[in-house]
Amino acid sequence: MRETPLSNCERLFLLKAIEEKKRLDGRQAYDYRNIKITFGTDYGCCTVCLGKTRVLAQVSCELVPPKDSRPTEGIMFFNLELSSMASPGFQPSRQSELLVTLNRQLERCLRNSKCIDTESLCVVSGEKVWQIRVDVHVLNHDGNLMDAASIAAISALCHFRRPDVAIQGRDITVFSPEERDPVPLSIYHMPICVSFAFFQQGTYLLVDPCEKEELVMDGLLVIAMNKHREICSVQSSGGIMLLKDQVIRCSKIASVKVSEITELINKALENDRQVRKEGGKFGFAESIPKERITALKREQAPVEMKDIEETADEIVREAEAPSEAVHSPVIVATGTGQVGEGLQNTWGLEEEDAEEEFQGGMDGKEKKKDEVMVISDSEEEEVVILKPEAQKSKSRRPKN
């Protein structure tokens, strides 16, 4: 199914708001939405909620023969999938541009930056190495999938534990988690992507665009950095023209954001480790908030009811009279269909009408004002219309 296109008035509204430095959800230009990182019961499973965007990453490992060109290094494999539940526009069969872009960006951010020590994944050189596979699934699309995916992927990699291996000559023994504790991966640094959306040919810049802002933007600049202020990847997309200073400025903003996000990831990892050590409950089921109403209790809230009648009358008196919205109300009785706007019939009677208007002038118009046109198929001759009379103010006395 195709995605609902954005209407022109929505587009204009968003652009105007951005010009006045306002965003739909009230954020500042350089603010991120709320990031929530939760881990599952298995090692290597992580869900990231960036505002309403939700992404799930799972890491798994397997012993395989290595590549011929690199016999002493392990293999990293990344795969991102746009689940159909994320957005009505995502279809499983289509190889869309977005999918290719996200996959390639994730690969470049994590593989080329060498965040994981692939040499430590080697078991028997030339014969058996670990293949680490990261699968990222997009569960809900509300903009900025790239950042959410990169945070999820790196958190999952930090959380993952691979089985311990013992080598005796050529024999490899893989220990199950019960026999020996699984071993974490050796991660050098944590690259995190930060997305910048450009509007009005590069005049305005927003960090972490939501879905509506993404539909309106001119182009996107994704900078992946780690907390040591090293840039891991830069990618501009969309047909925007950038200046060198803009890119430098974005990299400075990105370094600030990345250090904040890295702190958050470390805290989440630490929390999870604590909970597991203490033997408490962990996993997704625990972290999803139970939005269930278990009791309805309202406190007695005192309301000022003194002199309410006088104040109400005053307000009514000082208020302006409502403007006459409809000159001649057209009432459609129940059971009638109608095509058109219900204005006066202008078919073929134009000449007569014109004459009438010319002669009648104001009289005719005044008459039309009072007259109420009723369109109805009912065969009743007389139609009674109830006019709203001036109601006597019924005051409510508070129950004492």
Partner: protein, 245 residues
């Protein structure tokens, strides 16, 4: 590949160039008679061929038609014999799709698409020999092909790669330098206005070095634009001489 020295003490690179020197560029326009525009470029050992068809009516799905602009359709492919090992999938894999997307975005920004509403411009690029700087060679070849086809553009689009070794930025990397593990920055620039159409960087680089690296890439692009300009003027001269007779 730790033993490979990308920059020697005297300041010479693997192929004997200086740090900011570009590779030798040779280009030809009007290589194919059938196409509206075509060009062939050699940057060192990297050879790329670009062919432009258009502007013509939108073929295939009519739904792609834009009412106020032309649609640019790019396809990037590598010949199977272009790399050291035979390439099994010349096009359709993720890297080629990504390259095609990037080329499309670069040229959508540079070509004056408003002049051709409801039409399509096809750009096909093929790498015949790959020795680093694939994207740059494609962009330069496509620029020349568009000029050959007579399609109006804002400015020449010049692309170049740059790398960083021991605090020295290198311009125009070859394959060995790219895969040596250092930083690679690919930049597509419109030289006169200094607008960057596309910037792409892989591998780690400290934030403070970004400025120097981008500056080196921009200087290389400007140098390249002069070369492309001279190629275009020479081609025009040749063609006008032939038609006069």
């Amino acid at each position: 590949m730790a033993g490979l020295e990308l920059l020697s003490d005297q300041g010479y690179r693997l192929d004997g160039r200086r740090a900011a020197e570009l590779r030798k560029v040779q280009a030809r326009m009007g290589v194919f008679a059938q196409a509206d525009g075509s060009a062939y470029i050699e940057q060192g050992n990297t050879r790329a061929l670009a062919v432009v068809y258009g502007p013509h009516e939108v073929r295939g799905s009519r739904s792609k038609t834009l009412h106020d602009r032309a649609v640019i359709n790019c396809q990037y492919s590598m010949a199977t014999f272009s790399t050291a090992e035979r390439k099994r999938r010349p096009h359709g894999d993720r890297k080629s799709s990504e390259m095609s997307l990037h080329l499309k975005q670069t040229f959508e920004a540079a070509v004056l698409t408003q002049l051709y509403p409801r039409s399509q411009i096809d750009i096909y690029v093929k790498i015949l020999q790959s020795d680093g700087g694939n994207y740059s060679a494609c962009v330069n070849a496509a620029t020349l092909a568009l000029v050959d086809a007579g399609i109006p553009m804002r400015d020449y689009v010049c692309a170049c790669t740059a790398g960083f070794v021991e605090d020295t930025p290198l311009a125009d990397l070859c394959h060995a330098e790219e895969s040596g593990g250092g930083t690679t920055l690919a930049l597509a620039l419109l030289p006169r206005s200094e607008n960057i159409a596309l910037v792409q960087m892989d591998a780690r680089l400290h934030q403070d070095h970004l400025d120097a690296l981008m500056e080196a890439a921009m200087m290389a692009c400007k140098g390249l634009s002069k070369v492309l300009d001279s190629v275009v003027r020479q081609h025009l001269q040749e063609v006008s001489v032939l038609t006069r007779e």
